[in-house]
């Protein structure tokens, strides 16, 4: 069974360029603006969309994404609304893959079976659940695979060759390589080290390998994209939304336009990536 994720990566492989994977926080700063941002991401050149599910206690995220999640929760976002946002997006885009990203508790409370069936109906293609390592696969990963939803795993610099097969075992869609230890939004890792890590993971799997944590500019996207199958940008997008808000959270500028311009630049970066390596 192929998903939109499989089809999208196959298409990009044929084009010979890496994917631009963009993360944003669902519901930040409010439902309507956030849905507009989501639509803008794909129009401005994002190949895969990671739709953040806000959580009160995001233990693996830096201050930017923590704050975005709190803004979304304050704006009334819930898991049900995040699913509805995906369904609304699907009304005019049936091709761009959507990956839900967040923490397990809201899904657990929603109910795993109900969640998978509603996610599938909403046009969700994959899941990244930060606090579910392979040791906890029976919770959600295995049921997701049975439901035809990709379960995308994070591999990190602490995932050594001995552990990598376990991490990859039930992974589908793509592998998300977190290029450094630490929380989201911290400094960028050395591109040579990233290239070596991507090669190491590729020696264990045929899945596309996307690299994230710390990518902020088109140049960085281009550099990482030279070795990876995809470049993930999250904090930079979330910050762009935050910068459009005034001190009390009111809309001071147009976040949609700012996101469009950032993502447009990043898309040029990834499109130049393989071109640069080919020359």
């Amino acid at each position: 069974m192929t998903t939109r994720i499989d089809r999208r990566f196959a298409k990009l492989k044929a084009e010979g360029r890496p994917a631009l994977v963009t993360y944003f926080m669902g519901g930040d700063p409010d439902y309507v603006s956030s849905l507009q941002i989501m639509r803008t991401l794909s129009r401005a050149g994002a190949d895969v969309i990671e739709l953040g599910m806000p959580f009160s206690d995001p233990m693996a995220d830096g201050p930017a994404i923590q704050a975005a999640g709190l803004r979304a929760l304050k704006g009334g976002q819930t898991l049900a609304k995040t699913l509805r946002m995906a369904a609304d997006f699907r009304k005019d885009d049936d091709e761009t893959p959507i990956v839900l990203m967040g923490y397990y508790n809201p899904i657990y409370i929603y109910g795993v079976d109900r969640f998978l069936s509603d996610a599938k109906a909403a046009g969700i293609d994959g899941l990244i659940v930060v606090d579910l390592p392979p040791e906890m696969d029976e919770e959600l990963c295995v049921p997701a695979l049975e439901a035809g939803v990709n379960f995308i795993r994070l591999a990190t610099p602490t995932t050594d060759d001995k552990r990598l097969p376990k991490v990859l075992q039930n992974t589908s869609g793509f592998v998300y390589y977190v290029s450094m230890t630490g929380i989201t939004g911290a400094a960028l890792a050395d591109t040579e080290k990233v290239a070596a890590a991507v090669a190491r993971i590729k020696s264990h799997t045929d899945l596309p390998v996307c690299v994230g944590f710390g990518v902020k500019t088109a140049e960085q996207a281009q550099a990482i994209g030279a070795s990876a199958d995809g470049v993930v940008v999250g904090t930079a997008i979330v910050n762009t939304v935050a910068n459009a808000l005034g001190p009390t959270g009111e809309m001071a500028a147009d976040p949609v336009e700012a996101v469009a311009s950032l993502v447009g630049n990043l898309a040029e970066g990834v499109r130049a990536a393989r071109l640069a390596t080919a020359q």
Binding site: D57, P58, P106, I109, P133, E135, M136, T158, R163
Partner: protein, 406 residues
């Protein structure tokens, strides 16, 4: 929720996956997984190593002052006119609470693992002080994360930590309490995986922490069981302890779990009452969920967002509880009851006046429960109450509650 079958023994958990029934587990980011597996391996090895055991026992005796006394609280017993009340005097330990038991065990483990830096979270500051103490003793730099609300209400402990050479980092996210401090400690750990040891202060978090912390704290119950047999020639009728994360409680409960004649009661912080959200009674008013690496009872809303609780006592101000308590609750072996802020405050004052002991506000919750039940019990019945810490740190909070300026 299905009621689990009554097991042959309540003392065999967790299983290899770190589960106590449906509770516990290892719900952590992949970055931390190799570390947790490594920690588990070192813990398994250390448990079997007589040299590790001997070093820990030596420090427990000569540095921490164990065994702690089992003290007949004659004043309180007379005052209440019912069952005989014994206090397990963890307040007499070095650093003033049970927290040192766990910190000594874990610092030896950190040393054994070749770690270079200690991080810890703290609520009331008791665990922070104990962590700073063992770090000073063994020459580790130590960073303690503490919610900014707690930094304010536990100022004496903050200063003690600083004197001991630790860096106290206030955490202002959320309500600035223990939950937020734990989030921030986990972020530090995930960033500094190579050299950092995370010294978790309670019997919660990802496996193997709940088991390991319980084992280090079980010395409380092992001693108490032996002491009561020696002093009274029989087991107690009731054991009571306060439960925040639940390390002092699991420490005294665990050795009694298979003594079916002993009733066991854990006391949760009922705050200003269970009707709203101003309490921390996760097992009385919460439901199972996943936070901080384990599945356990949590205070949360219908969307699975974690709520900030409230308690007069910073050490009980946590929206979750250790997973083994959740399991003991569901199996029915232990009863968990709430005690309100004002009931704890009254117990604090009564104990101070009739017993000459100033208990920590955490421990005062357990004493408040004893004050409720002791008068209904016979004079030949015996209660052991875990006096988990001393209350010097709380005098400012109590003065404020009583409207006294000091």
């Amino acid at each position: 929720m299905n009621q689990p079958l009554t097991p042959n023994s309540f003392r065999t958990g967790p299983d290899e996956q770190g589960m106590f029934g449906m509770f516990g587990g290892r719900f952590v980011a992949e970055t931390l997984m190799p570390l947790i597996l490594d920690l588990q391996q070192h813990w398994e090895d250390a448990k079997r190593d007589p040299a590790f055991k001997a070093e820990l026992e030596g420090l427990s005796t000569n540095f921490a002052g164990r065994p702690s006394k089992l003290y007949f609280a004659e004043g309180l017993t007379k005052h209440l006119g019912g069952a005989k009340i014994y206090f397990k005097r963890e307040d007499l330990n070095h650093t003033g609470s049970h927290k040192i038991n766990n910190c000594l065990g874990q610092i030896l483990l950190a040393k054994r693992m070749g770690k270079k830096r200690i991080i810890a979270e703290t609520g009331a500051g008791q665990h922070g002080v104990a962590s700073a103490t063992v770090s000073a003793r063994f020459g580790f730099p130590c960073v303690v994360y503490m919610g900014s609300t707690d930094v304010e209400r536990q100022a004496p402990n903050v200063f003690r930590m600083k004197l001991l050479g630790a860096e106290v980092r206030p955490v202002s996210s959320g309500h600035g309490t223990l939950k937020d401090a734990m989030n921030e400690a986990l972020r530090d750990w995930v960033t500094n995986v190579e050299d950092t040891y995370y010294l978790i202060g309670t019997a919660a978090g990802p496996h193997p922490y709940p088991e390991m912390v319980r084992d280090f704290q079980s010395v409380i119950g092992l001693e108490a069981r032996e002491q009561i047999l020696e002093q009274e020639g029989r087991l107690p009728d009731l054991v009571v302890a306060a439960v925040g994360g639940g390390s002092n409680a699991i420490g005294i409960f665990h050795p009694f779990l298979d003594d079916r004649s002993v009733r066991i009661v854990g006391v949760e912080a009922g705050g200003r009452g269970l009707q709203g959200i101003e309490h921390c009674a996760s097992m009385n008013a919460g439901r199972p969920g996943v936070l901080h690496g384990n599945r356990t009872y949590l205070l949360q809303n219908e969307d699975g967002q974690i709520l900030d609780g409230h308690s007069i006592s910073a050490g009980l101000d946590y929206p979750g509880v250790g997973p083994e308590h959740s399991w003991l609750r569901d199996t029915g072996r232990v009863d968990y009851v709430p005690i309100l802020d004002n009931e704890a405050l009254e117990a604090f004052q009564v104990t101070t006046c009739v017993e000459g002991i100033i208990p920590a506000l955490e421990s005062a919750h357990a004493i408040a429960q004893v004050m409720k039940v002791a008068p209904t019990m016979g004079k030949d019945e015996i209660i052991i109450c875990n006096l988990s810490g001393r209350g010097d740190k709380d005098v400012h909070t109590v003065a404020k509650m009583l409207g006294v300026e000091i």
